[in-house]
């Protein structure tokens, strides 16, 4: 069994590498098909830099050669130098700014998962009663209102609140302490939390009426144990299944929230790079994000194997 598990992990990681290679290839050729030239932007580019860059990346060479060179560098973990920010390594950009985005994203996923499971279970237990109606109304709001609206509204709310109290309870924007993280993480995780709440509610409703819950009652198991051991554990399975793709939704949605809350995350570089056709930064951020997401999906799948004994990882 242990051996099967190790083999499964290896297989999944190999598949992941192939996926990342595919992402890199697709991005590379799509990017080069966009009209324009990264070296022809508003700023005057000194001939020295142009020559330096062209020599290093072979921009004068055929596209396929460029692709091979790029893959070679990528295999060594070198994303190259930014085209627009002089002498700045893409690796440095990622190293500096990714931890910010990752912290925000992970916090948002935790908010979303914990909130979704809690609210979903609550609405199921209070089915067709007041708490159920109130929470489900908020869920529909959470799913349908886009995150930039929620972000702006939450900032407005914070400003009003801080003014009323007369001092700063929570910072409205910026990055630094834990207090800076709370509001943007909540905003970022909100729609996923709403989605997971709905999923958890329906899955919990199915479990509440199931035969094995009736069996647990017939054994005289106390309600708190029935809830945690028999209902929650089984109802959570579908939630874990969608957690992988939802992590992708949250991290890609992070760009907007980072912008509104002035958070120095990776998202800003990603968007600006596309606008300025900064080849290396586009490639670096895309491939890195892609690899991160592939990795997270594998982690969630492994997690699922631990939660649901029926899933045999082979």
């Amino acid at each position: 069994m242990r051996q099967g598990m190790a083999w499964y992990v290896c297989k999944r990681l190999l598949q992941g590498v192939v996926t990342v290679w595919f992402i890199a290839t697709a991005t590379f050729f799509a990017m080069h098909n966009v009209p324009g030239d990264p070296l022809l932007n508003d700023r005057a580019m000194t001939p020295a830099i142009r020559a330096n860059l062209e020599a290093r990346y072979g921009l004068d060479q055929p596209l396929f050669n460029q692709y091979l060179i790029y893959l070679g560098n990528l295999a060594q973990g070198d994303f190259g130098i930014s085209f627009t920010q002089e002498n700045r390594q893409v690796n440095d950009i990622i190293r500096e700014h990714f931890p910010v985005s990752a912290t925000l994203g992970i916090l948002a996923v935790l908010f979303a998962a914990a909130g979704g499971v809690l609210w979903g279970a609550l609405t199921a237990l209070y089915r067709n009663r007041m708490p159920d109606y109130v929470i489900m109304f908020l869920v529909i709001l959470g799913i349908s209102v886009p995150s930039f609206v929620v972000a702006a509204l939450s900032q407005l709310g914070l400003v009003t609140l801080n003014t009323l109290v007369g001092r700063s309870l929570l910072p409205v924007a910026g990055w630094g302490s834990v207090f800076h993280m709370l509001t943007p993480a909540l905003v970022l995780g909100l729609s996923t939390m709403a989605y997971l709440t709905r999923l958890m509610r329906s899955s919990m409703l199915e479990i509440i009426d199931s035969d094995f819950v009736r069996t647990a009652k017939s054994k005289g198991v106390p309600p708190a144990l029935i809830f945690s051991r028999h209902q929650l554990r089984n109802a959570i399975l579908p939630v874990v299944t969608v957690l992988g793709p939802q992590i992708a939704v949250i991290t890609t949605g992070g760009f907007v929230v980072e912008l509104v809350f002035a958070i120095p995350g990776l998202g800003r570089f990603f968007v600006e790079a596309v606008q300025q056709l900064d080849y290396t930064v586009i490639m670096g951020t895309t491939v890195f994000y892609g690899a991160f997401l592939v990795f997270m999906v594998i982690v969630v799948d492994l997690l699922y194997g631990f939660i649901d004994p029926r899933v045999r990882l082979q």
Binding site: S210, D211, F212, D308, P309, R310
Partner: protein
């Protein structure tokens, strides 16, 4: 019999409030069962067998269910609507229960051993290790080979018959005085059925527990039961010792059930005869006899007059107007005290 019976149920009523109105699922059921005895409750689907025992076990969701009036006394203590007696839940400790479909009746994400150990931990306060050892011993006593290995497995790794054995092991883990088996063999194939029934019987001999067996299989009744309760449309229509009910059937519905049972006797030329029609609508139960519309001996009086119960012998009664002294209908196959005496 001077002492009070182990479980005495009197005048049990259960209703369900639905969008279409109130379903009166159980309408005044009385029965009792004693240690070392097996009471079979028979009847077709929807006649209130399962609802009766589930209401006693507190397994009917309230609402939409509504339980009462009525009483269920376990050793003289009321347990209807209140399963906690002397600070302890009688479910799992005093009364064990097994269900129809073992495939869905066990928690798919818990090991079999942990599920059997659970009542021991809840009711007896056993530690995890001790409860686990006891669970393995219980699995062995329910004739599951390689019990130690099996205890660490999950329900999806078991076959249906093995799961039902595990269910039994779980139900008897705290040595209950009463085992309720709600159609325990319906979902199993015939050879496995037989093994499960044997197992229940042997466990009863060892522990002296009482069994309430719900089934619609008269073959199972003949093999297992000491007493039989025939239910129809939420009421008891005939009750008596197993021989009385089988050989001296006193209600046309019991006869209908017997005629609908397949037989493999060589000399039997009988054709399987189903009971025509279907049970009455329990949204609006009939004022007279519930079996009126399907009964071959139905009389004018049966339509509007609810039948009284007539005693035929000690502990054998039927709820049918045919036993009224003024009845002159010819019904040769219905056993009547007047005819036999």
């Amino acid at each position: 019999m001077t002492a009070a019976p182990l479980l005495q149920v009197e005048d049990l009523h259960v209703e369900f409030a639905t969008h279409g109105g109130t379903v009166r699922a159980v309408r005044g059921v009385d029965f009792s069962v004693d240690s070392n005895r097996t009471l079979a409750i028979v009847g077709e689907s929807g006649c209130g067998k399962s609802v009766s025992v589930q209401s006693i076990m507190g397994l009917i969701p309230v609402p939409p269910g509504r339980i009462g009036p009525g009483s269920a006394l376990l050793r003289g203590q009321e347990i209807l609507g209140n399963n906690v007696v002397n600070g302890r839940d009688v479910r799992g400790s005093e009364i064990g229960m097994i269900f129809q479909d073992p495939m869905t009746s066990l928690n798919p994400t818990m090991t079999i051993g942990a599920q059997i150990a659970e009542p021991l931990q809840v009711h007896r306060g056993y530690g995890a290790g001790r409860a686990r050892e006891e669970a393995i011993r219980l699995l062995e006593s329910c004739r599951i080979p390689e019990a130690r290995k099996r205890a660490g497995q999950y329900p999806f790794e078991f076959s249906g018959g093995m799961l039902q054995r595990a269910m039994i092991a779980m139900a008897i883990s705290c040595k209950p005085a009463l085992l309720i088996a709600d159609e325990p063999t319906t979902a199993l194939d015939v050879t496995i059925q037989s093994q499960i029934l044997d197992l229940m019987r042997d466990l009863q001999r060892e522990t002296g527990m009482a069994i309430i067996l719900i089934t619609h299989d008269l073959g199972v009744v003949a093999r297992m039961a000491d007493e039989v309760l025939v239910m129809y449309a939420g009421e008891v229509v005939e009750k008596g010792g197993v021989d009385d009910v089988f050989y001296r059937s006193a209600h046309p519905y019991t006869l209908g059930l017997k005629a609908a049972m397949p037989s493999n006797r060589d000399d039997s030329a009988q054709v399987l005869t189903p009971i025509d029609g279907s049970p009455p609508d329990l949204f609006a139960p009939p004022g007279g006899c519930g079996y009126f519309a399907r009964c071959p001996y139905a009389m004018q009086a049966c339509e509007d007059n609810h039948p009284e119960s007539f005693d035929l012998h000690a502990d054998h009664f039927a709820r049918c107007w045919l036993h009224h002294e003024d009845c002159d209908v010819e019904a040769t196959d219905v056993h009547r005290t007047t005819a036999s005496e």
